[in-house]
């Protein structure tokens, strides 16, 4: 099977999953009483006064079968309802808040992968010796750390050492710059926009606020990569080509870096898809702790205040995001390792 054929087949395979996911979410929605469910159909603030009419118009107290087509149609039209927490249509609020979250991921993802791979290799090469025990302890601690607890510890430590509490996306003084007329928004990411606008003070301030959330997300997600890299590296180190490389007198570092690590990296690609999911989950907590105005914080507030439209919209969106990222990972994997396409 060629790569193109594989990609087409994979894309066809996710269609029933997406349909199933939509049905699952619809089933979850059915658990909610019609009165609150009506918020899912609200388009403008004015509609909020006519919830009774909405219940009637969309047959919300009729049987689920009658409701499904109606619900699906308005999802496809891009109407995810009205979020009370965000005071706006779900989709608009969500898209306004994504840049903040993407900014954290943009820094956290590469750091997670780089540190994870380095520590994993160290751990495998020194198996059952002190460096291995220390790295494994770090990795296991990363698995076990509640992200909110780590966040609170970091917040306290920064206060004790610097005397300030750093929360939010930017400082108050910078908020005025960002909201002013002179500021041009290109991507919504303050670091990139700051460079384009030539305001490096904004960039610096944004970076300062990003540091703590990025540290939390990196520490917690690194653990999985360390573990996988370690076992994959251990396996690679027993392969015949390693013995050959050693036998022909290559230096140990060269054997590890050129021969073993490169081959051990392949399975690590697969975890990248899972990392997206755990990062999204982690971001809900982390953004809440640091009052970072991203999607995660909004979703957490929606959950606490029982804002149904917000929670459902966020869940559908993250599910879609996760499916697509897994698709990309699978295609990448098939590209790297041709054996997968045959499966």
């Amino acid at each position: 099977m060629g790569l193109r054929e594989y990609i087409i087949r994979r894309i066809i395979m996710i269609i029933p999953i997406i349909i199933g996911a939509v049905i699952l979410i619809f089933a979850v929605v059915q658990l909610i009483p019609p009165g609150s469910r009506a918020l899912l159909y609200v388009r403008t603030e004015r509609d909020l006064q006519f919830l009774d009419q909405i219940i009637k118009a969309h047959k919300l107290d009729a049987s689920p079968v009658e409701q499904f087509a109606d619900w699906l149609r308005q999802i496809l039209e891009g109407n995810f309802g009205w979020t009370r927490v965000g005071r706006g249509p779900v989709l608009n609020v969500m898209f306004a808040k994504w840049p903040a979250t993407i900014e954290i991921v943009m820094f956290a993802a590469p750091l997670t992968i780089i540190f994870g791979i380095i520590l994993g290799v160290i751990s495998a090469v020194h198996r059952d010796k002190l460096p291995d025990h220390i790295t494994r302890l770090i990795s296991i601690a990363g698995y076990s750390l509640p992200s909110f607890w780590l966040g609170l510890i970091l917040l306290s430590l920064t206060y004790i050492t610097t005397g300030t509490v750093i929360t939010g996306r930017v400082s108050n003084s910078v908020v005025n710059i960002v909201k002013s007329q002179a500021w041009h928004t290109y991507t919504g990411l303050y670091t990139i926009d700051g460079i384009i606008n030539g305001r490096f003070d904004v960039v610096l301030d944004a970076l300062k606020h990003l540091a703590l959330p990025v540290i939390v997300i990196t520490t917690i997600n690194m653990a999985g990569i360390i573990r996988l890299m370690r076992s994959s590296m251990l396996e690679a180190l027993t392969k015949n080509y390693i013995i050959t490389a050693k036998a022909k007198g290559l230096k140990n570092t060269k054997v590890i870096n050129k021969h073993a690590r490169r081959n051990a990296l392949i399975p690590v690609v697969t975890i990248a898809g899972l990392m997206v999911a755990s990062m999204l989950s982690g971001l809900i907590i982390t953004e809440t702790v640091f009052a970072f105005e991203g999607v995660g914080q909004w979703a957490a507030q929606c959950a606490t205040q029982l804002d149904i439209a917000g929670v459902i919209g966020f869940t559908i969106f993250t599910g879609l995001l996760f499916v697509i990222s897994n698709l990309i990972v699978d295609i990448l994997y098939a590209y790297i390792d041709p054996r997968i396409r045959l499966g």
Partner: protein, 383 residues
């Protein structure tokens, strides 16, 4: 009749491989300092959980009539601000007057309860689905596995959050909602029995059951027999968390178990059992399950740590147990009003101590799990 000793001998002989495996695992645990540490941590928590009524006596005294629920943290100590640790309240008091020490000690039992219940119930569902999918294969496998795919395509915490928010305060199931899915499942099984033509008798019985159930549900649907609410169960907030975590957790186990069953199905001993005419249920329960389940059981039990961590995250978001319930995440959540200011340092005891309980609990399970995963992984063991 066998004497007791002979019976033990016989049992030992029958389970020789499992016993050897267990001994090897114990040997590896003894050899690795980290997993030994993990074992000690878990033992420590178990002791705290057992001794909870002595370590933190409920007030007023634990009496089924006066104080039926010792998990509610006493909040008799009215205070406006949180109070730092003192000899009477070793871990301090939160703003609403909840004793942190009491919450931490009784929270240990909550943690075990959440972890054990979620793992056990997800495992039962996962086992049923995984075995059916793996053993029958074909269309059944396809349908069941696509269903797990759907749940797995959401990040766990996020789907759990949606479930918790959507679940109603009381679970009411009327007769059709229970009967119709059961009818569909039994009808599917009947169809399979006829297609496979293995045992005619069993197929006829299940066909009869399907017809009876279908008639009964039809009668209720058309209003001939009045609708009866079969189950009416109030859901506490902790129940909702448990249900959400189980609904999110089972597909993972179903997948692993299906894989194992698929592998076992092509083994010689299953072929042999089929050849001598053993029934499906006999092959599944006598041959496949005993040969596949033990490693999965061990691995699943180690998930208790991560499940407690997820439950704590939900509590921290404010959608966990009731505010007064002894639950670690709930206690950390009590620092929320101070989170954005310098008070977070002044009231350190509210979040640092319960958070440490969560962290060390997770650490214990993961330390142990890391070693056992290595042992159970055939590509890495014995090197």
């Amino acid at each position: 009749m066998f004497s007791l000793r002979e019976r033990i001998q016989k049992w030992k002989k029958a389970h020789e491989v499992s016993i050897k495996e267990l001994k090897f695992i114990l040997f590896r645990i003894r050899k690795s300092p980290l997993s030994l540490l993990g074992t000690f941590i878990i033992a420590f928590y178990i002791i705290i959980a057992i001794l909870a009524p002595i370590l933190a006596p409920p007030q007023p005294s634990w009496d089924i009539f006066k104080n039926p629920n010792p998990f509610i943290i006493p909040d008799a100590y009215n205070s406006v601000d949180p109070t730092p640790p003192s000899p009477q309240h070793p871990f301090g008091i939160t703003v609403e007057g909840y004793d942190i020490y009491y919450g931490c000690i009784w929270g240990t039992i909550t943690a075990f309860r959440v972890g054990v219940m979620v793992v056990a119930l997800s495992l039962i569902i996962g086992l049923a689905v995984g075995i059916i999918a793996g053993y029958y294969g074909g269309l059944v496998d396809e349908i069941l596995m696509r269903f797990t795919d759907i749940i797995i395509c959401f990040p766990g915490l996020i789907l759990a959050m949606a479930f918790v928010v959507a679940l109603p305060p009381a679970l009411t199931l009327d007769a059709p909602t229970i009967l119709i899915p059961i009818t569909v499942v039994i009808a599917l099984i009947t169809l399979l029995q006829f297609l496979k033509r293995t045992s005619k008798r069993f197929a006829n019985i299940s066909l009869a059951i399907t017809l009876v159930l279908a008639v009964v549900s039809a009668l209720i649907m058309f209003g001939i027999v009045p609708k009866i609410n079969v189950v009416q169960m109030p859901l506490t907030r902790l129940d909702k968390v448990l249900i959400a975590l189980i609904l999110v957790g089972w597909p993972g186990y179903a997948r692993v178990i299906r894989g194992e069953v698929l592998r076992a199905r092509s083994e010689d001993y299953v072929e042999a059992a089929k050849a001598i005419g053993a029934s499906d249920s006999r092959i599944i329960f006598k041959h496949i399950v005993p040969n596949t389940i033990y490693p999965i059981l061990i691995l699943a039990s180690l998930d208790i740590g991560s499940i407690v961590l997820t439950a704590a995250a939900l509590s921290f978001l404010g959608i966990g147990a009731e505010p007064s319930y002894a639950d670690w995440g709930q206690l950390v959540q009590k620092c929320e009003p101070y989170m954005l200011g310098v008070d977070i340092v002044r009231y350190w005891y509210i979040w640092l101590i319960p958070g440490a309980f969560i962290f060390i609990f997770g650490l214990g399970w993961n330390l142990l799990g890391d070693a056992i995963r290595d042992v159970l992984d055939p590509t890495l063991r014995r090197r």
